[in-house]
């Protein structure tokens, strides 16, 4: 991974971002944060609907129709800006424990969201009438929200990978 990071750092797109890092990095990170906000807003609303704390005059399907596209659109935006950050600062990103744990949790969060959308579409009646009232489903809603909170924490911790002690592969300067 270190070798790959060093190779990536020498590629033209990476060199461009590095040479103009005074504005490229803050700009990419700011767009990334806007994307995070849109994800968190959307996830919060869908989860609150499952918990019965908001959007209660709308069906579950109506709520996911409203926020699903924003959620997936924002996740794509995060993927693009995230990739640009990896290209721009490969060693800083790839040689950390935080980054890889974050990627694992992003994968889990995304899979849960996709699976949820699919089963809701296939068994709409069952979801609206029964599943949404189940305790286990409400617990899942809270859990997935916490997964995204952890993703934010880990994203920030990429800059502070030393908090993981010996788990961090980053060189200690």
């Amino acid at each position: 991974m270190q070798q790959f990071a060093l190779w990536l750092a020498a590629t033209p797109p990476s060199v461009f971002i590095q040479e103009h890092n005074a504005w490229t990095i803050p700009a990419i990170q700011s767009i990334h944060i806007v994307g995070i906000a849109l994800v968190m807003g959307s996830v919060l609303m869908i989860d609150l609907r499952i918990l019965g704390w908001a959007w209660t005059d709308q069906t579950l399907r109506q709520t996911t129709n409203r926020f699903g596209p924003w959620l997936s659109g924002s996740l794509w935006l995060l993927l693009v800006t995230g990739l640009l950050m990896v290209i721009g600062e490969p060693v800083r990103e790839l040689v950390t424990f935080s980054f890889w744990l974050k990627m694992a949790l992003v994968a889990i969060g995304t899979l849960v969201a996709v699976a949820f959308q699919r089963t809701l579409r296939r068994q709409e009646q069952h979801w609206e009438a029964r599943l949404v009232h189940r305790r286990s489903i409400k617990a899942m809603a809270i859990l997935t929200f916490l997964v995204w909170v952890c993703v934010i924490f880990l994203g920030r911790l990429i800059a502070y990978d030393h908090v993981w002690g010996s788990w961090s592969p980053a060189p200690r300067l």
Binding site: I33, V34, V39, M40, G41, W70, F153, R156, L173
Partner: protein
Amino acid sequence: MLEWLQQSSVAVQIRDSLYSFPLLESIHVVGLALVFGTIAILDLRLLGLASTNRAVSRILADLLTWTWVAFVVTAATGGLMFITNAVVYFNNTFFRAKMILLVLAGLNMLVFELTARKTMARWDTERSAPPIGKVVATLSLLIWVGVIVAGRVIGFTATRAAAPVDEAAPDVDFEDLLGLPK
């Protein structure tokens, strides 16, 4: 005053801890994501761009508590980060810009309360808010994006001023640090 804040035992404890500042920053990001995420939902509704099948008052009722709780969390963690290095932050251009933008966001909200909000019963279920409401919503989105950008830039400008990178180590050999075979 700023010096006193910086010397306070809370500030010293945060500075001395390996974990406090990263933790505060992380909570700050979660908080601001929920602030902007929920505000954007309302602004887009006012502009007639999303959730148009729901009354504005219902959306306000669903969101407001969350927005305020998230705002308090974000402000509290922001305040704690500020006192760890108060003098530097206070003199940082982007920190000042961010504070001005936050004041503008508040004033913008006040304009909404004093104008469109008063007549809301009349346009509550309309597709979009009256012109003044749309102006407020557009400004709100722009101001909050500005807050995010300024906030992110503080991290690049203030910390550097606070702890200048040691110029004595310009020829760090990263391959060596990573323990790669030459």
